[in-house]
């Protein structure tokens, strides 16, 4: 039982990182932009938040740092950093109409480099690898409040997380309502399905694409921040974990068939699948890798299933990955 609870709480923590990445990417892809820079954007979100919090805490002195202020600074910096990544991607693919796949992959590579570069710089400023600490800010992210004190395992399972875990669920619900129930969401879907049609209907395709991509990047970036502040408790580790989770986020978008509500439970499932090997006794280093493969296998299975069922509602936006130019003939 304890082990099951342990798997589930790990699944929620990891799932939340993936969920942020995927929710942002769902919003972006709904506009027809395929941003493979998600892992890079999560890196940018993580490092920007960390830099902001670190500068604040060292600036006022660790003893005087207010957790809430650090938290707000970290979030603002994370959003700014990741949205800047989204803006670069938007400018290249929407305005200059570069190939989205290549641009996205490049963004991931360059952002990983930037993040690890500044991660190294911070380490040096802090006096060595692993010395970075933003304890006050991180404590705000990891602050928990139980509503069912003394319920034992139930309590551990549902109220043992920082606020960003719940924020992810709220964002998923808000996104779902926006995309499916509002007229602006309808316009966004039209842009992703058929930009020429949207354009002829008087929708500003460029504006929708820019906004969806930049806001989507902001949401994805929060995933990186959550990982840095909550999971590794406010330091930097250049172990490539953010990138691995970022790719899982891209896979999750497909797994959830571009539906943010479906993204909630499937993110937790992904989180469970990618840590399952930890709880299976007797695995060697190499057999572990087979288990780490599970989320990707699940994604392929969903792709197959969806392509067999051929439900139009489960397909990617029809113009995903294509540039739009009104006067093209």
């Amino acid at each position: 039982m304890t082990q099951l609870i342990s798997i589930l709480t790990t699944a929620v923590t990891f799932g939340t990182v993936i969920m942020y990445g995927a929710l942002g990417e769902i919003l972006t892809e709904k506009s027809g932009n395929l941003n493979l820079g998600v892992p890079g954007i999560m890196y940018l979100g993580g490092i920007s938040g960390l830099i902001g919090a670190y500068l604040y805490e060292t600036g006022v002195g660790a003893a005087n740092a207010l957790p809430v202020v650090g938290m707000i600074i970290a979030i603002v910096c994370a959003l700014a950093g990741s949205m800047l990544g989204g803006l670069i991607f938007s400018f290249l693919t929407i305005t200059l109409r570069t190939n989205q796949n290549v641009t996205g992959l490049t963004l991931t590579i360059i952002s990983a480099g930037i993040a690890n570069y500044f991660g190294g710089t911070l380490s040096k400023m802090a006096g060595g690898v692993g010395q970075i600490s933003v304890a006050a800010t991180s404590s705000a992210f990891r602050w928990t409040q139980s509503l069912t004190d003394g319920w034992g395992e139930f309590d551990t399972l549902f109220f043992n997380y920082g606020f960003m875990t719940y924020l992810a669920i709220v964002i998923a619900i808000v996104l779902s309502i926006f995309i499916n129930r509002t007229t602006k969401g309808l316009n966004l879907r039209a842009v992703g399905e058929n930009p020429a049609t949207a354009d002829a209907a008087g929708i500003n395709v460029t504006r929708y694409k820019y906004l969806a991509t930049c806001i989507g990047a902001g949401i994805s970036g929060l995933g990186g921040l959550y990982y840095v502040m909550d999971y590794i408790k406010g330091t930097w580790a250049n172990d490539g974990n953010i990138e691995a989770l970022g790719w899982l986020a891209v896979a999750l978008v497909i797994f959830a068939t571009w539906k943010s509500l479906r993204g909630i439970w499937s993110a937790y499932l992904f989180g469970a699948l990618c840590w399952l090997y930890y709880y299976i006794p007797g695995l060697t280093r190499s057999t572990q890798e087979l288990f780490k493969m599970l989320p990707y296998v699940a994604t392929i299975a969903v792709l197959l299933f969806v392509s067999f069922r051929k439900r139009k509602e489960d397909q990617p936006p029809a113009s995903l990955g294509l540039s739009y130019f009104r006067e093209e003939r």
């Binding site: 602006k184 969401g185 309808l186 316009n187 039209a190 002829a200 051929k310 006067e327």
Partner: protein, 513 residues
Amino acid sequence: MTNEVAVQMVDITKTFGPVVANNKVNLTIYRGEILSLLGENGSGKTTLMNMLSGIYFPDSGSVFVDGVPVTIRSPKDAFNLHIGMIHQHFKLVDVLTAAENIILGLNEKAFIDLKDVRKQVAQICDRYGFVVNPDKKVYDMSVSEKQTLEIVKVLYRGADILILDEPTAVLTPQETQKLFHVMRNMKDDGKSIIIITHKLHEVLEISDRVAVLRKGEYIGDIATQLTSAQELTDMMVGRAVSLNIDRPQCEIKRECLSVEHLSVIDADGVKKLKDVSFTAYGGEVLGIAGISGSGQKELLEAIAGLQFIQQGGSILYSSAEGEQPTQLVGRTPRDIKRMGVRLAFVPEDRLGMGLVGSMDLTDNMLLRSYKDGASPFANRANPRNLAKTVVEELEVVTPSISTPVRKLSGGNVQKVLVGREIASQPSLLMSAYAVRGLDINTSYTIYRLMNEQKMRGAAVIYVGEDLDVLLELCDRILVLCAGEVSGLVDGRNTTKEEVGLMMMHLPNKEVEA
């Protein structure tokens, strides 16, 4: 028709790179009239209308609506001026319902509320005689339903000036009549309608006035009742053109292809062809008529070895009189070629199946011959000569034979494809929608080439959509309906109505309730 001017376009010029699409075009549209905009392909009709509907922006010139100078920068501006366009390629989102498509981009409310939309759509439908189900998804709709939805969508936005770009290209004669009926209702309601088309009989039937464009220049306008098909063609082409399609009698007549009990099921398990049997003779043009998607594509592909044919089907090919026929079922296109079957295929999707868009003329010619000979290197000399010959003989307009074919206009692409196919001296020539999107001049060139092959003794199978052409060009017409043969008629003594009915009903079959 009143004399009240609705829209005036003055000295409109639009260029795309070095190409001048419209050169100082002037056009006046009156309230309550149906105006036909006539012109060959590339004459700039659609470009001109796209500028009125905000898709393109003119390089110079001015537009007046109700006498007031206006700037139309986007489709939204056009809607605000009550101008709406129904594009040739429908602008609808497949996965949305009719009602959702209608309110696209309007942002009348923050949350989607379709109650009022349904009510208003019902009102519009009652007024003009449409039928639209607001909750049907677009991907479930037929072509004519989609077109109706497009018109309703434009009317919902309060359009008084409607532009229809080639609206009848995809409709059956009966559906076209229904559309014309609606257009007359709208005209009686005071709306101005501009119809872009190159079907002359439709121009004469529906419009009050005709405006002609040629090579981006405005030639003039004329009241429809004062003109004739011949005069309009001459205006359009710029010189006298014979409008009759030849149907020469060929002395040679031999059985070339015998198809029996052919059934084809597609990848989704849908039956596309059901027990089709017919014979094609050398020295004749066999027309195939049917609503698009009735199995024409599958039939030609089955013969070319590109479809999986169900058990019991047989396609026998004989190259010459008295020779043992060859069975084509179960063969790949490569087998068929290797067996010496001289089959030429001009598919519907020119740049998808027929040619490679990013390759030049020579390389596209090479596609048919690169496996010839034993050398590991491809012989490029012969294809290059062939490309030169095709360019000269068919008057292909291209900067050079090393230009990628996708940069050529639709008509020139088709000439390259047809030229390559007939260069192989086929004994069976199959073509699908060979003149789709081509102008009158090029179309007649294609008809001439088909007839030449027929006179050589080749069997020509011509899948077409324009019934007038089928009736004039073909010796016999095979009519397909939902994958079955619904009739085989003689092109010389049938009528459009007869073929039109066959396209929609199978003989001796109760309509399933």
